[in-house]
Structures are given as C-alpha cells and as structure tokens.
Subunit: 350 residues, 2 copies
C-alpha cells in the first residue's frame, strides 16, 4: 500500500537531471517504434524493416540524435573503445602505429584511448588497470615484457590483448610485429657483405629500450658468427642526433679502425653522419653506416642513409583488423603471431 502511494508520487516527478539531451527514446517516439528497434537499427540496420529503418533514419536526422556510447558501453558490458598503450607517441615509430590504428578503427566507430608508459613497467601496470575500468573492446600493449600484475589483470579480464612491435618472446595471446634480433642480423650481414670487417653497434637508451637491445644482440652475434670484429658503444640518453654524434666520436676514439657501424635507430645514425662530416670521415668509403627506422629525413640525408624500415603502419592496421574481426564474432586464435617483417634499404651510406 505504502509502496503504491510512493510510486504514484515518484513516477511523474521523473525530471531529467542533466541537460536536456536527445535520447534513443525520443527517436523512438518520433519514429513511432520502440526504443529497442532503434537500438537494433543502429547496430544492425539490415535486421530492421525498410519502412521502420527509414523512419528511424529520418527521426535521427531531424532530432540530430547522437547516441550515448557510455550508456551503450555499460549496458553491453563492453565499450567501443580500444586502449592503446605505447612507450610514447613522441617516438615516431609508435606515432605511426597509433595513427594507422586510429584511422582504421575509426571506420568501425571505435575510439582509441591512449596511454604512455615512458618505458616504465609500473606505469604500464597502472595504465592497464585504468584501461580495464573502461571495459575496452581490446587492449593493445607494446612489446612482450610486462609486470606479473599486468599479466594477471589482463588474464582475469576477458578482454582481447594484442602485443605489438615485438616477436620472439612469451606472448599473452596475439602478437604483431617482427623479430628485432633479425634486424640486427640483417644489418651485420649487410655490412659484412659490403666488405666491412670491423663492426660497431651504437645504441641509445638501451637499458630501457629492450627492442634496441635485441637489435644490438642480433648484430653482435651475427658478426661474431661470421668471424668479424665487433663491439658496442652505448649511451643512456634517449635517441637523438646529438647522442649519435657523441657516440661516433667515442667510437672512433676507442676503435680507430672501425669500418662499419649500425645504429639503434636513424636519429642516432643521422648524428653519426653529421659528425663524420665534421671529422672528415668519408661515408661510405672509410665508414659504412646503417640505421633503423627509415625516418622522414633518412632518404634525404647526405649521403642518403641505408636503413631498415619496419612497417609501423602495417602493425597498426593488422591490429585494427584483428580487433574488428573479434568484435564481429571471430575468435582470436590463441598464441598466434603476425610477422610484419622489415625491409633493408640499401642507400648511399653503406
């Protein structure tokens, strides 16, 4: 009895608390169908009759209806957001992938939520935690090395996880990228093939950048295997042409007879080219140089920079494809990996 009274009183009060926004109900009313039909139309237009469809379309247009994805996400227990976690978009490699992925996901009306680890596993862990609280359609991580806690969280959540930019380790489920040690091997083989017998790897920030380290390791072991002299010089600062210049100076001092250099990436290689010019070291005659990344300036350098081009955008597109497929119902096969390869660009510097 008391309940009935309460209901009678409270029901008509149903005031909208926030700003008057147009909801699916308004569209339904306008189109003279039920809200669920509108919902269905929005998600699978082909499942609705042509007449209902067109009147819904008209109502949406007229009312300028914008669906509330937050509400949708809550109801469906999964939002149309994909969380992408990279070391930093300041890094051109990851910027490329993020951009490609955003463009591809956008077409499926999926949003990109971005996070930066700054090469910190603990930070990554926090980012994953927050990411999960958005009930994302997928989580994309960079690399294969994560904290135990991160793995646990991801395992407990039932969200698909894709790891990018690294292959060859223990993966959570799906990985898209390439083998960085193979990059190093390819560089070494290339230099050796060009007749170089005194090799050096110049690396920046290798204590944090695991993938740079893998390239270095591949390089060194391939050189050793070929019975060629090889060493490595590194600097803890992030990659930059300045670090490259410093490293070259140091390298020449320590190894005056070096005749082939591979760099952890093209930023470093660019610095090497500049410093060679300053020191009067002829490239490639006395010293061959190869980088990694094929950055915007690499082809235009003087001499043009030999380098290895990873396919950052392909990684992004493939990741997007997998996510879209998964949302369409296709299961991700367990433990698959997609090798996006890389290309060695033989230019003037080697």
């Amino acid at each position: 009895m008391a309940d009935q009274v309460k209901e009678a009183i409270s029901r008509p009060q149903r005031r909208r608390r926030k700003m008057q926004s147009i909801t699916m109900m308004d569209v339904a009313e306008h189109a003279k169908v039920s809200p669920s039909t509108v919902s269905l139309y929005l998600r699978r237009p082909e499942a609705v009759s042509a007449s209902a469809g067109s009147s819904i379309a008209r109502a949406i247009d007229k009312l300028n209806y914008v669906p509330n994805l937050v509400a949708g996400g809550l109801a469906a227990a999964s939002s149309r957001a994909v969380s992408i976690i990279v070391p930093s978009v300041r890094n051109a490699f990851f910027a490329e992938t993020v951009a490609a992925m955003q463009t591809a996901l956008r077409k499926e009306r999926l949003q990109v939520i971005l996070g930066h680890t700054e090469y910190d596993e603990k930070e990554e862990e926090d980012l994953v935690r927050t990411a999960l609280s958005w009930a994302p359609a997928a989580v994309v991580l960079t690399g294969l090395s994560h904290s135990e806690a991160t793995r646990k969280m991801l395992a407990k959540a039932t969200v698909p996880v894709i790891e990018i930019w690294e292959l060859g380790g223990v993966q959570i489920n799906t990985a898209i990228g390439f083998h960085h040690d193979q990059v190093g091997i390819a560089s070494a083989k290339h230099l050796i093939h060009e007749g170089r017998r005194n090799l050096l790897f110049l690396g920046a920030r290798m204590h944090e950048d695991r993938r740079a380290r893998q390239r270095c390791d591949g390089f060194v072991s391939a050189a050793r295997e070929a019975g060629v002299k090889v060493d490595m010089v590194q600097h803890p600062a992030p990659s930059s042409a300045e670090v490259g210049a410093m490293l070259l100076a140091e390298a020449i001092e320590m190894h005056p007879d070096v005749d082939g250099i591979a760099c952890s990436n093209d930023h470093v290689a660019l610095g090497v080219l500049f410093e060679c010019e300053r020191l009067g070291i002829a490239v490639p005659d006395r010293l061959a140089v190869i980088g990694f990344g094929d950055l915007s300036f690499s082809a235009a350098c003087n001499p043009s920079l030999s380098t290895i081009r990873p396919s950052g955008d392909l990684i992004g597109r493939e990741a997007a494809r997998l996510i879209v497929d998964h949302m369409a119902g296709k299961e991700l096969e367990r433990d698959t990996s997609i090798d996006t390869r890389f290309t060695l660009l033989h230019r003037r510097s080697s």
Copy 2:
C-alpha cells in the same frame, strides 16, 4: 496483483549476465557500509569518517576492486575522458602536445581519447560528433578553423572546449598557443638583421596547413614592410626533407640571388641544408637558413639549424591544467587565450 506476482518471481532471478566482476556493492558489503559511502569515499575521501574510510580501503585492496568508469560516466553524465583531436600524431609537434597532455591528465585519472583529422574539417566534424557521444570532460581541438556544424555541436553540448596551437582568430572559448604570423615576422626580422636582403619562404602543404600559411604570411609582410625583396615557393606534399631539397633547387633556379630562407618547418629546412651541401652553396655565408620547430635533429645538423621553437609540451600542460581546474569546479573564463610564445634559436645556419 499480477504485478506483485511478477516481481516476486523475477526478483530472485537477478542473475549476472556478464563475467563476474567485483562491483562497488561487493566492496560495500565487505566493508559493512552502503554503496553510496564507498562512492563518496572514492570521490572525496575526506568526506568519509576515518574508520569507514580505512575499512573501505581495506576491502578495495582485498577484493582488488577496479571501479567501472563507464557506469560512473553514465551516472554522472560526464566521463573521465578528454577527447583530443589533432591533425595527426605522426606530426612531431602534435605528438609532443598529446604526450604532455596525456601525462598531465593521467595524474588526475583522466583518459585521453585520440582522434586524427588529417587536416580535414569534415573528418574533424565526425570526430567531434563521436567524441561528444562519450560525454567527455573536455574536448581539445587543434586550431581555430572548424566547420559550422562542428561549432554548433560544440555549442549545444555543454562541454568545455579548448583550442590549441593557434591564436589570433575567432575562438570558441579558450585557446592556448601562439601567433604563427609572429613566427614569420620574427624569422624575417632575424634574417634581415643578419644582413639578408633577398628573402624566400619555402613551404610544404600550405594549402592544408593553415598555420604554416600564417607563418608564411607574417614572413612576407614583415619583409615587405622592411623594404626587402621577398617571395615564396611551395609544394603541396607534406613536410619532409625531400620536399625541402626540391624546394631549394626550385628556389635557386627562380631566385639565383636569394640570400635568406625561412622554411615552414625544420623537416623542410633539413632538406635545404642537405641540398645546399650537394649544390655547394655555403650556409650561412651565401645563404642563411632558418626553420621552425626545433626538431630532434635541428641542433645536431651541420651547420646547426637556426630555428624557432614553439612550446608544444607547454601547450599540452596548460590545456591539462585548465581541464583539471574546470573539473574541480573552476569556471573557464569566456574567451580567454593563453599565449605560450616561442623562442628563436640563433644557431650556425644563419
């Protein structure tokens, strides 16, 4: 009567449809308080008694509770997401700002939702539409020029809007950035001060990049005002060292007597430096060069590149600050703008 029966039947069926996840209710039960107290604790810990607070904290810890931000966003009609829309993170300038903003917002547990316009107003419009359907805490747009529809949507939504990387036009509300024409003016004055009397502006993609055009316009008008010869050469492709090299070749052909060049950015300037080297043009003796951006390689070039450094990270940090302040209740003053300035770096190339 019938209703009562129905209720009696349906109530106990309350099955969880999706994966068993720990909710605020579980935490409440565990801590022996009501859900609303948990909610309050999460948002304003100081408003909850110490004893309740600590037992809630313990429960959260024990259960490993992760709040569902989607549900929170729906209930509060505003999510802890900030939509950032830039031309592309492939562009180092915007990558810098996005990274800085993400880092700053992260500390306040705000998420970044990223969108790329690729310099397309129509695309921006779509991105804003989708962005709004997330009920974001704020929307950040690049530049001051947007479609009418974009403006209308943004006006209707009550979300705070911040425009970045451009000052000096009609703004929606708050703008953070600097005056690009002043960059052009500063470059021209600098070259003139260095004794140059035959100036040229080399620009890439200026039909799409409004801000590059503003820099160009400022440059040209400042030179004219000073009574100095000036012209402009452009190429529709996106900025790159290759385009820079091409533009320089073209420039020298059309204006053999040019002695001072400003470039739409450092990518182009780098190409100019390389091409000068190839053509045997002495920099800065015969030709002074200044760029824009102070990119990673600019200081290490040979000769080091004079350039103008915008503060992309400051723009990001300021935007984040405003958003955080706004969420704390501080109103955004209407029509304010924050000038983050720029710095001219006089190096060896001029």
